[in-house]
């Protein structure tokens, strides 16, 4: 286990370096200049040149290594920069540094994503188990329908629908913004639906398979109550595929969904993914992508560790 963790953590910087290089190349190729307004006045050419020089935008090689040094903390270690892990000032929002932007938005997206994943597990596993107990029954068909709706309805439709019903008509929950639990409910439900649907299908499939297995017959034969058979024996094994799905799913949910964040005006990271690229805010693009990549790797690692913990037969090292 320790070997696995050390091994993966050693890989992390290498993977990040590759991601950094690819993202940098792509982002550099975006046309335009982040320091200029897309609409409106044009600054004189000598000013544009000077501003580009200030942020190393006139030289990709200098930018690449300078940013890499500051972001990783190497520049700080060799004493050429005053702090480690500095992702630079945002090129588009000059009053903010990328670190500050991420510090404000990553916890928001993580809270929303985690709530959504928990909801998705709750809804998905429950409906999956109910469906598997009596395949073909009305309960099974309705869970199937729910899964279908969850997967096929785009979040902006679900989100707007929820807003109109629960906020505008019933007046129970606020529209847009971020603050108390009340702000969390609707976006979390919207974000959780596609995940819930997928988990429901995975659980149902696994459960049907497990419930027909020999050890379940043995368990029933020795007179175990049905709820113990289902929850303790069958579900435990049926849960494994769900668990492996949860790694990438949590990472995806926690790094923010542009659409859900936009519909509910949630100040998360998802917005920056799109806005930063649209405005060619290089430092913000790099900061967001590196954070996302690191999170993805760490979540996958956590899932692998959990996997072994749940089922010690599996060897991953």
């Amino acid at each position: 286990m320790t070997r696995l963790i050390v091994h993966r953590l050693l890989q992390l910087p290498l993977i990040l370096l590759v991601i950094y290089t690819i993202t940098f190349t792509l982002a550099w190729l975006i046309p335009g200049n982040p320091l200029e307004n897309p609409e409106g006045r044009r600054p004189p050419p000598e000013i544009v040149a000077a501003m580009k020089a200030q942020y190393n935008l006139d030289n990709p090689v200098v930018f690449y290594f300078d940013y890499l040094g500051k972001a990783t903390g190497i520049s700080w270690l060799i004493g050429r920069h005053d702090r480690p892990f500095d992702l630079g000032p945002s090129l588009r929002h000059e009053n903010w540094s990328v670190n500050e932007i991420l510090a404000g938005s990553v916890p928001v997206s993580m809270t929303l994503g985690l709530t959504a994943i928990l909801l998705a597990c709750l809804i998905g596993i429950t409906t999956g188990v109910i469906g598997a107990l009596k395949p073909g029954s009305i309960a099974d068909l309705s869970t199937l329908l729910l899964a279908l709706v969850g997967i096929s309805l785009p979040p902006f439709v679900v989100g707007t629908l929820l807003l109109v019903v629960f906020s505008v008509w019933l007046g129970w929950l606020p529209v847009g913004g971020w603050g108390g639990v009340s702000y969390l409910i609707l976006p979390a439900i919207t974000l959780s639906l596609p995940f819930a649907a997928y988990i429901a299908r995975l659980t149902r499939f696994g459960m049907i398979e497990q419930l027909n297995a020999d050890y379940i017959r043995t368990a029933r034969a020795k007179g175990l109550p049905e709820y113990k058979v289902v929850l303790k024996h069958a579900l435990k094994n049926a849960f494994l595929p769900v668990l492996s799905y949860l790694g990438p799913a949590s990472a995806a949910a926690m790094t923010g969904s542009f659409v859900v964040e936009r519909v509910f005006a949630v100040p998360g990271v998802g917005t920056h993914f799109v806005d930063a690229v649209l405005s060619k805010d290089l430092t913000l693009i790099m900061g967001v992508v590196l954070t996302y990549a690191a999170m993805l790797i760490v979540f996958n690692l956590i899932v692998d560790v959990l996997y072994r913990w749940v089922d010690p037969r599996i060897s991953l090292a």
Binding site: G40, A53, E100, L118, R262
Partner: protein, 648 residues
């Protein structure tokens, strides 16, 4: 068991992350911006929503009355103007204070204007202030010095150059602090709109010690407490947290994190209490503001909601007082509902208007709207024009000769645009259609000329007169060699659907009226900007908002040397007229020259086709929200806005 442990762990993590404090408590005024403010550094601003913040946080020397754009005293009394109208002397009010209690002095303004006029700041609006004596020469000088320095950068010389530039500025640029409360500004030539520029957000003062991040210890110096920062010795730049010289380029470089709550020191009606990126910004009353009685709301909350559908829904729940930029796809339908409401009460409204009540007051006094009606959406013509530019260069970007370099061709295309159809059936917002660039009745003393209207017959004649007509009755026009008119490359931007629909309509109108073929090319705004720069288009959408109350804020677009002349339009006569207007001392005669210039441009030359005046759509409950101006320049002072709190 293991599963339960995992779940509990996750829940614990969640609660730790959430810190679910409901800190978005209401403010006296809650309004919504579509995107966050870009910067709170007034010298660096160029967006309307940033300006609006500047007018709340900072107070300039003088300000506009935002209903008629006369000049009113602000941090200074109205200036003394010399007989030759070149020298303006401002007397700064002794009671004016910064939000940390420091006195506002002439040196603060001198400092802010110096920032504006140093190329190092990279201010968008520097060149507007080149009317100050010596400013443009100083700008060029500093750029030259920097270019020279960059050839051979050596460490100590950046500081030396910086000090030299300071001295050169003081010697050569016409801004001087005569004493702590008197500021003198000398212009290159009399400029009718100079005081209008003094009201403009980029001329707001900034507080030097906080902008540069001076060491805290300086504030305890007794000389500082007496005279403000001018009383103490300037700290060297390496002791400043937010400022420094770039050793490679020699430029003065600024970090902008000073413009944040707790650090930003302002002299206007409000101070910045909270700012959470792309979330919200909270302003509270500045305890040191010299005339607190003019400030209507004690606190202001500016929310960022990017999706206009969401903000419209949020408005419907009554959580918001004012939406500044409604742009939902269904806004035209909402405006129809407003019209239905106004029509039902047409008699009552007519009766009340005789008594001289404002429209908002009258609407607020009527019974609430019924199903299918509304009164909370408002459309106002703004200080800007939507237009389509012609590429006026002799050759296109790919080297072909450009048919639109001929004024006759441009006139023909302009004459065949039915603008009324566009605003009634395409945009459905019924914007005022225009034939010239400057929005009508927006500048006192200026009479808009009438440009080319809709006359497709004359349009066809214009083309025939230079040899383009349908010679073989195939519905397309050819020249005498039988060559077809080149396929027209019409460039539009994909950021809103507005330009797609207008472009499609133009294509239909031109193809039908003139017998030409038009191809639409929709691109992202950034590609569009590149294409404009390269001249890679024949016709392209465009728009322009005026910055100050003078015709030149629009007409300068047609100057051959102007940086925003996307059309590549060059005409010596137009340049000469603009130069003549700049030299003319008599205001009425000057306006007449500019009027002639605009008439010439839009009856003969047509470098662009003005379509309609741009509009701004607001949402607020009439009668409940007061203090918004409807003057086309739409400068809204947040401190003037008052929200009636009743049912709460």
């Amino acid at each position: 068991m293991k599963l339960i442990v995992t779940l509990m762990l996750l829940v614990a993590m969640l609660t730790a992350l959430a810190r679910l404090d409901d800190s978005t408590s209401r403010a006296d005024l809650v309004y919504v911006n579509r995107g966050d403010v870009f910067t709170l550094d007034p010298q660096r601003m160029s967006y309307l929503k940033d300006f609006r913040m500047a007018y709340a946080l900072y107070e300039g020397l003088v300000r506009w009355d935002n209903t008629d754009f006369t000049i009113q005293p602000a941090a200074s009394e109205l200036p003394d103007i010399s007989a030759d109208r070149l020298t303006y002397t401002f007397h700064i009010k002794p009671e004016a204070k910064w939000s940390n209690g420091d006195p506002v002095t002439s040196h603060d303004f001198l400092y802010a204007w110096k920032r504006l006029l140093f190329p190092d700041t990279a201010a968008d609006y520097s060149n507007l202030f080149f009317i100050i004596d010596g400013a443009s020469e100083f700008w060029a000088w500093r750029n030259e010095q920097l270019a020279e320095f960059a050839q051979d950068p050596s460490a100590g010389r950046a500081t030396q150059l910086w000090n030299l530039a300071q001295a050169h500025f003081e010697r050569s640029v016409g801004i001087r602090a005569l004493d702590d409360h008197t500021l003198e500004i000398r212009l290159r030539q009399p400029t009718a709109y100079f005081l209008d520029l003094v009201c403009f957000a980029p001329s707001s003062p900034v507080h030097r010690p906080s902008v540069e991040g001076w060491p805290e210890s300086i504030a305890s110096d007794p000389r500082y407490q007496e005279r403000g920062w001018i009383g103490v010795e300037l700290p060297t730049l390496d002791r400043c947290q937010w400022a420094g010289l770039n050793p490679k380029t020699g430029r003065f470089e600024q970090k902008h994190q000073w413009a944040r709550p707790g650090r930003l020191v302002s002299n206007g009606p409000y101070i910045l209490a909270e700012w959470r990126f792309q979330r919200d910004m909270r302003l509270v009353k500045n305890p040191y503001f010299h005339t607190p009685e003019i400030v209507k709301s004690d606190s202001i909350l500016a929310l960022t909601i990017a999706d206009t559908n969401t903000s419209t829904l949020a408005f419907a729940t009554g959580r918001l007082d004012w939406l500044t930029d409604v742009n939902a796809e269904y806004q035209a339908d909402m405006l129809q509902q407003k019209l239905a409401y106004e029509q039902r009460y047409a008699n009552e409204l007519a009766e009340m208007s005789i008594k001289g009540r404002s429209l908002d007051d009258m609407l607020g006094a009527l019974p609430p709207p019924e199903e299918g009606e509304r009164r909370d959406i408002h459309i106002f013509p703004a200080f800007g024009t939507d237009f389509f530019s012609f590429n006026c260069r002799p050759f296109l970007a790919d080297g072909r000769s450009n048919p639109f370099s001929l004024p006759a061709v441009r006139r023909a295309f302009a004459l065949c645009v039915n603008k009324q159809t566009i605003v009634e059936q395409v945009t459905r917002l019924n914007e005022p259609v225009v034939t010239t660039l400057i929005p009508p009745d927006s500048i006192p003393g200026y009479n808009n000329p009438v440009g080319l209207g809709y006359d497709p017959n004359r349009g066809r004649q214009e083309l025939e007169s230079i040899g383009w007509k349908d010679r073989n009755s195939d519905g397309l026009i050819e020249n005498e060699n039988g060559e077809l008119f080149p396929i027209i490359d019409l460039l539009w931007t994909t950021n809103t659907s507005r330009y797609k629909w207008i472009s499609l309509e133009l294509k239909a109108q031109w193809e039908q009226a003139l017998g030409v073929r038009v191809e639409l090319r929709g691109v992202d705004t950034r590609f569009y900007k590149e294409d404009l720069k390269q001249g890679n288009f024949m016709i392209a959408r465009g728009r322009w908002y005026g910055d100050y109350g003078d015709p030149t804020t629009f007409l300068d677009l047609c100057r051959s040397t102007d940086g925003n002349n996307d059309r590549g339009y060059e005409n010596e006569y137009v340049d000469a007229m603009l130069d003549a207007a700049a030299l003319e001392l008599d205001p009425a005669r000057r306006m007449k020259i500019l009027e002639d210039c605009e008439r010439f441009l839009f009856t003969e030359e047509m470098p662009l086709i003005p379509i309609c005046q741009l509009v701004q759509v607001y949402m607020y409950e009439p009668g409940r929200v007061k203090g918004l101006t409807q003057h086309p320049r739409l400068v809204q002072y947040l401190w003037q806005i008052e929200v009636r709190k009743d049912e709460e």
